[in-house]
Symmetry: C2
Subunit: 567 residues, 2 copies
């Protein structure tokens, strides 16, 4: 392709309302154009990248037996009422009425439609398992769309749904899908991790998120430096450093007037924060509970929810805490709590000896408390958020904390939709069984932005080879003034095209600096410069997008040279 037939519409200025680098660079490179809040036109340059993602996704879905379909974007309300999601879903669901005043929505996902399809068409359990997928434009009416295509209202998604007679078959397809996702992100040249994820309200089912690692990611994840363990810090476990065993000392009450924080407590009592057991009152589905964690640890509310078997857990307001315990804030402790109040202790806090905690009355704390001796050890659970450097729960490695961008999510749904929508099939014993179901998403348009978050520098995008919109930038210098340069560039362009190297020839009559800056901004992996000096010498100047130096390559060897660079 040539710039004269494929205008770049690049810009030097960073758009004022673009907060993250991928949004800035996609706008500046002319990959996308904003039409309205969370609505973007994919310009030719951007669409070429998205199509590369789509193609890899399609090939890998086909490879595991996925059957491609295309479901309507506009869906009748009746199906959503059947599944219950019409009332459960918030205002992100864009609802509308047709000219006959019937209710519809623009589907953010298609569980209802595909389940309805299968319940009508499926004739025998022998036709299972089946996996359907589509690559489609979706809509979510985000209250505050931001970050460009990273959290747009209209976006492109690959959604897949699998159907099964039993859990073993579901697990098999889930495993196949997990492997396919790993191949997809590997083929796209991205650094990523599959990460155990919270299954939220659905509970009990299996779910993993695929995270592209990038410092700007919204999710924090713990990754083992040795094995493939990775988990959202909401869920991650670790082998925390355990305190050394020490002989029990005599417990003692000390006056601590007015102190509120662990830091104040440690200072007044002359101890370290990790010698404190702090008491946190939470409301678990609006029922109070007291949780004990080490003074230097952070209570993890997601883990607390799992441990308490609660759907929603939040910190209690001061009045709620006072009402539940009868003790003012800052002085609650494991001794002297009301009967019947739920209490749990974190694993690490449970291992402490001679610790300090609130005395259960205002302005006093205990020191040198010991579980069992001074009060019974409450039930133990993992309640703390892991920290970098702690031991991996699976191997002898250590955990690092990284940030990631969620680009995929795979999920074992079980019979949630098939029960609600009565999607059953006769098994071999003549029994009507609800279908087991999995669902599997990839944010196709988001992958493009995530790839940029992971791969950029001060000059622009640095595309991984498989994602680049064009593979070679061919820059001709002052070709409008030199026929020899124009001819040499044209010959090289034809040669690169014939070799399948997908060149982008910047044939504009612009200054060299403008061209170089644009080619760096749009991030093509390889750059060839054709100028008068090189034409005379029979060479062309090469520079890889990540290189700091250029080098001359004989024109006759350029194609072979580039093929070696790609390998």
């Amino acid at each position: 392709m040539r710039a004269s037939r494929f205008p770049l519409f690049t810009s030097k200025e960073t758009p004022a309302d673009a907060e993250i680098v991928s949004h800035q660079l996609m706008l500046r490179a002319g990959m996308i154009e904003k039409l309205g809040a969370g609505l973007y036109t994919w310009q030719p340059l951007g669409l070429r990248v998205m199509r590369r993602v789509e193609q890899v996704v399609r090939e890998e879905m086909d490879a595991i037996g996925g059957l491609e379909v295309l479901m309507p974007a506009v869906q009748p309300a009746e199906l959503w009422q059947e599944s219950g999601r019409w009332s459960q879903y918030g205002p992100e669901l864009l609802r509308l009425k047709d000219r006959h005043e019937r209710d519809f929505c623009i589907g953010p996902t298609h569980e209802e439609v595909i389940t309805d399809y299968l319940r009508r068409e499926l004739r025998s359990y022998r036709q299972l398992p089946l996996t359907y997928y589509q690559i489609q434009t979706k809509f979510r009416d985000e209250i505050r769309p931001r970050f460009g295509v990273m959290r747009a209202r209209e976006f492109v998604m690959k959604d897949a749904y699998s159907f099964h007679m039993d859990e073993a078959s579901l697990q098999q397809t889930y495993d196949d899908m997990r492997a396919a996702y790993a191949r997809i992100f590997t083929r796209l040249g991205l650094e990523f991790r599959p990460v155990g994820a919270d299954t939220g309200a659905i509970g009990g089912s299996v779910s993993e998120e695929f995270m592209v690692l990038a410092d700007s990611g919204e999710d924090e994840i713990a990754i083992c430096e040795r094995c493939d363990y990775a988990a959202n810090t909401e869920l991650a476990a670790s082998r925390p450093p355990l305190p050394e065993r020490e002989p029990a000392l005599s417990a003692e009450e000390k006056p601590t007037p007015g102190i509120q924080t662990v830091a104040e407590q440690a200072e007044v009592l002359g101890i370290r924060p990790e010698q404190v057991v702090k008491s946190v009152v939470v409301m678990a589905d609006e029922v109070p509970a007291v949780l004990f964690v080490a003074g230097d640890d952070e209570l993890n509310l997601v883990k607390a929810g799992h441990a308490l078997g609660a759907g929603e857990v939040r910190l209690a307001e001061p009045e709620e805490a006072l009402e539940a315990t009868g003790v003012p804030r800052g002085f609650i402790g494991p001794k002297g709590l009301p009967q019947g109040l739920t209490v749990l202790v974190d694993e690490r806090a449970a291992g402490l000896a001679n610790f300090s905690s609130g005395a259960g009355r205002a302005d006093w704390h205990w020191v040198n408390l010991n579980w069992d001796r001074d009060m019974p050890l409450p039930p133990v659970a993992d309640l703390r958020t892991v920290r970098a450097g702690e031991g991996c729960p699976r191997c002898e490695g250590r955990l690092a904390i990284r940030r990631g961008i969620e680009v995929g999510h795979i999920f074992q749904l079980g019979t949630k939709y098939s029960e609600a929508m009565d999607a059953r099939v006769l098994d071999e014993n003549g029994e009507q069984l609800p279908l087991r179901m999995g669902c599997y998403g990839i944010g196709v348009s988001r992958v493009v932005a995530a790839a940029i978050e992971q791969n950029h520098d001060a000059h622009g995008i640095v595309w991984p080879e498989p994602l680049a919109p064009f593979r070679v930038a061919l820059v001709s210098l002052n070709a409008h003034k030199s026929e020899a340069v124009a001819d040499a560039a044209a010959r090289l362009y034809d040669e690169l095209t014939a070799a399948g190297l997908e060149p982008f020839w910047d044939d504009r009559p612009a200054r060299p600096g403008v061209k170089f800056a644009d080619m760096e901004l749009i991030g093509l992996p390889h750059r060839l410069v054709v100028g008068e000096r090189g034409v005379a010498a029979g060479t062309v100047e090469y520079r890889g997008r990540r290189d700091s130096e250029s080098r001359d390559v004989p024109v006759a060897e350029v194609v072979d040279f580039l093929r070696r660079q790609e390998a």
Copy 2:
């Protein structure tokens, strides 16, 4: 692909609400599934066909320099208000409000979005001409969706838009696009015609429709049997048979009490209908006019609108006709009409001599009237609908009347949108000129249905080779009982796959009749049957989808044989 991994979901029963054969066959073959009124899921079999259409369209758009984009389906109302279409468009435009109560629509076309894009990004006339296209799901809220995907509410369309500095450039791209469309429908194996079309309210601009010929088509078109002239009968011209010259006879008034029709008039007066000039009163933008056409011709209201320069022309109600002419219905004629009333005569009626017409008073008709002698000849225009067998207006050939399905429409829009939206660019003289624009659509999903309307028989679909979802049906007979058959079929399947012949192996343990019926229903071009007799003889039974007989082909020669069939 194998039936065991790609369930067909075929049906023998014709769905009750499917009126046309393509709708019936697409449902029966399991290509589509109805979700709601005018909403269809494309099942894997149907989507494979649609993807073939998309691929050919994409290649031909790229070949003429089209740049692919993807614009948002959901569009802000503001842009439509700017172009004026927000108020002009009827209830087919699906309007909606987002969670912040802002107005949007789901765009049925994208002139506003692309014009807005260009007015913001275009920097110089040197960047023109530019052609953008997208292949996208559109929505039109049809009041009565019917005919399956032929007139669905949600459908897939290729829409393209071109931008130019002058008319010559627009004409060049229009011609390129016209040629690309012809290549697309030729490559898809369809019989089609580009047809001059009415430009409707936009008037004056150039427009052509691409019609797939099929007896069930909604449009009637006149086609020259010799040259490439083709036009919608709303517009088609012809060289009609002219009456022989005859000497003028004496005009005479005759009593014709109570007659109303041309047939009655001819019978009572003992003349032929083509000796009658009938007078038709129309309302042209609510102003009356009288139009004269030969008694055996049909007045064409579209042509009348063009001749009268009116936007909307309809037949006058009897009271309107009486008020305009003062003459009761059946007795209006060219003599004795009120002064100032607009009158036009059709070319053929203008050539008649010694004709009969109403006398301008109840119960009387003239015979042997002659223009100029008895009354002045009114302005002459082409006002009649052509008939089969008439001469082509361009060559010595004759016209046939065929029916067609509109699958494409190309249009020179001029400055309609750029003027309204102030999309201008500096020309080389420093003058701000509005962009010239063309738009070009293909109903991608509709092409699939139109292809079936043109290519089917009593047993099912008969795909043109380039559209077939799979190319070869491989039917193994009782393979679950015969290992030799199963092995032979598996070997052949692998061989066909490796040869790129895209086989569909019906490996179900079903009766041969069921398999044959399904393969005919889904319309694969070639069928190979592997059975015990053939395995013993080293042959396989071949039958083309249009063949009436099968024949045996040696297994070793099958691939070469199939390649010859396709050529």
